[in-house]
Symmetry: C2
Subunit: 376 residues, 2 copies
């Protein structure tokens, strides 16, 4: 199969670009002396994850227990579930551990830590638990200097649980767009997470793992002193949000939506394509950034960007392509019915999630179909 | 199974509300003397669609050929594919027709009409083709008074095709929020589509079907004179966008995301839930409306709205719940870890699409699991 055989819309992976992204991240983390645990929530695809493992990844990070189950079934044993667990999900986590999965779970409250310990003690399992640290005020986690850090740790030293370490995610790095700010955020993420680990150790608790990461901070870090592992997800494909953050070029974006022109509104300068929000997702992550790409950057079928043309509107199965600047040719001459286009997405995690499969295009122009799963 | 057994996040259908919505729409269209062809892109679920057919729907509307294939396999023969077709999809359409599906396809260009005719003639199939009419300037279609209407019609009177009728969708009704404006838009949609049909007939073309519809116009129409059928989709579940448009109450919203509280940031007044944008979708359709519900309205597990609490932030698997007004209780007292909540979505079509299954809750409190498909 090659490009022109693909039924559109389709989630197209440019394999040489993906491999470049894998190698770039793995080299960066290797050079700083930490191990790398990719977040596979971006692809939810066995073949993509196998390429990350082949390049040197040590274990994976997941955002759902379904991901843990799917990747464990595919032969990956070392898995960190990086979303705070609730008691109702412990049964599902326990089932994985009972099958031999080396699963680490996460908490940031005494209530959850106590529930984990009680569940584990009652059923004869000892959960490996990471304590979530808040290093940038953007979401979950415990402040490194808080008493709560020690309280949660104490609630985990029981027959039903043990402290595996500390974990943080500086998600506010997505809001930055200069190298200096990114370097500073990477250092803040590192320093505060290491500080939390040291406070635990000083109080007599064990803290083997010190896990940090987000794509922007992982690529910007200058030192990882005291960090044992880094996690990152979206770097595998990159996207327009990461382009605006400044950690990738347009040519490094490895995921696009292959689409076909289905019609025009000539007077408005609109071409209509068969990729609407169901294909692109509703993610408008570039809306508040320096360059707003609408629902995506329009490229030719061979991947070359068509300057100034964006998906400026989207209904469920219709995308509207237009340009903000006047054009010398008519829209139907530029984009005839049946023409294939690649659309670079705002957010690769959201766009990939709309598709049951990826179409993986290799350097010879051949296309492989790779399954992708979803749900919980 | 009942509510507390459901693994969260889950797409929950309130079945009594759904049945009320089905009956409400079917009665409205019956009373105006047209037939009703629901758009099943909202649910993509066999059981939901069977309930619409049982209430009197005549045929269905689909947004992808995958929907056509799935519903045809489930025993529904009369299907309109309401997205302009491109030549590369004719093979897939032909395969359905060859199996006995009464499939209608759509075009709004001479280029596509010619390609349809040529494909049909070459392979001995006559496609039933609807001509898409633009009645509100919002997306695709041909203006009723244009010469192009007659040119497209002429390109369809061939051995490979026939004119099935005209079809329009006044999607700009979503931007309105007063009964008068909605009534006027419904009348505009009707009058312009009927005008296009009459122009075709006056020019000697046949035009049996006159198909109009959107949820807001379908519920607001006072006359359907000259219209043969109405299409609508999101009414089956409704959502917060439709609530803001003014065509449903909060109590008529039949789809919600069942979620669980996983943590807090006490000082910020945040409760964190396990429904992020992967569950809610990235749809922020209420952002530009009179009431912005963030990523959704928070309700108790029994469905009663908790006034003033919205999902104000969303990461992939984390939702942040907060209120714009000060509260007398602490957030962790109001929303303890493990508490189940229902979140009403901005846009039911987008939220449903994030889930492989629906959990359908009946009036007795029992839960059935219904499959949902996706992709193209």
């Amino acid at each position: 199969m090659n490009l022109s055989d693909i039924v559109t819309p389709a989630a197209l992976i440019d394999l040489p670009r993906m491999q470049h992204n894998i190698d770039r991240m793995q080299s960066q983390i290797n050079s700083l002396g930490a191990s790398f645990r990719p977040h596979v929530k971006t692809s939810k695809c066995i073949e993509v994850t196998q390429a990350q493992v082949a390049a040197g990844a040590q274990g994976i990070t997941v955002s759902t227990l379904k991901e843990a189950e799917q990747f464990f079934a595919a032969g990956i044993f070392d898995i960190t579930y990086a979303v705070g667990i609730v008691p109702t999900k412990l049964k599902q986590a326990h089932a994985l551990i009972a099958k031999g999965c080396d699963l680490k779970i996460l908490t940031d409250s005494v209530a959850s830590a106590t529930a984990i310990s009680e569940y584990g003690a009652a059923r004869g399992v000892s959960f490996k638990v990471l304590i979530e640290i808040d290093t940038d005020d953007h979401r979950s986690g415990i402040k490194p200097e808080s008493q709560m850090l020690l309280d949660v740790a104490a609630a985990l030293v029981t027959p039903g649980a043990s402290i595996a370490g500390v974990l943080t995610h500086a998600g506010s790095s997505y809001d930055l767009n200069t190298p200096d700010a990114l370097i500073a955020m990477a250092e803040q993420e590192r320093a505060l997470c290491v500080r939390a680990a040291n406070r635990l150790r000083e109080a007599g608790f064990s803290c083997e793992t010190v896990s940090v990461g987000s794509t922007p901070t992982a690529l910007s870090a200058i030192s990882l002193d005291g960090v044992t592992e880094v996690r990152a997800g979206v770097y595998i494909f990159f996207d327009l949000v990461m382009h605006n953050v400044g950690v990738c070029t347009m040519d490094e974006i490895a995921l696009s939506v292959l689409s076909t022109v289905i019609g025009h509104q000539e007077e408005k300068g609109w071409a209509i394509i068969d990729a609407g929000w169901m294909a692109m997702s509703r993610d408008r992550g570039t809306q508040k950034q320096t360059t707003d790409f609408g629902y995506g950057q329009v490229c030719r079928a061979d991947g070359i960007p068509i300057h100034g043309f964006f998906v400026t509107g989207a209904n469920q199965e219709h995308g509207i392509i237009s340009s903000h600047t006047p054009q010398s040719s008519s829209i139907s001459e530029m984009f005839p019915v049946g023409m294939q286009l690649r659309i670079l997405p705002n957010h690769a995690c959201a766009t990939g999630a709309q598709f049951p499969q990826y179409q993986a295009l290799d350097s010879a122009g051949d296309v492989l179909t790779w399954d992708r799963f979803y749900g919980w």
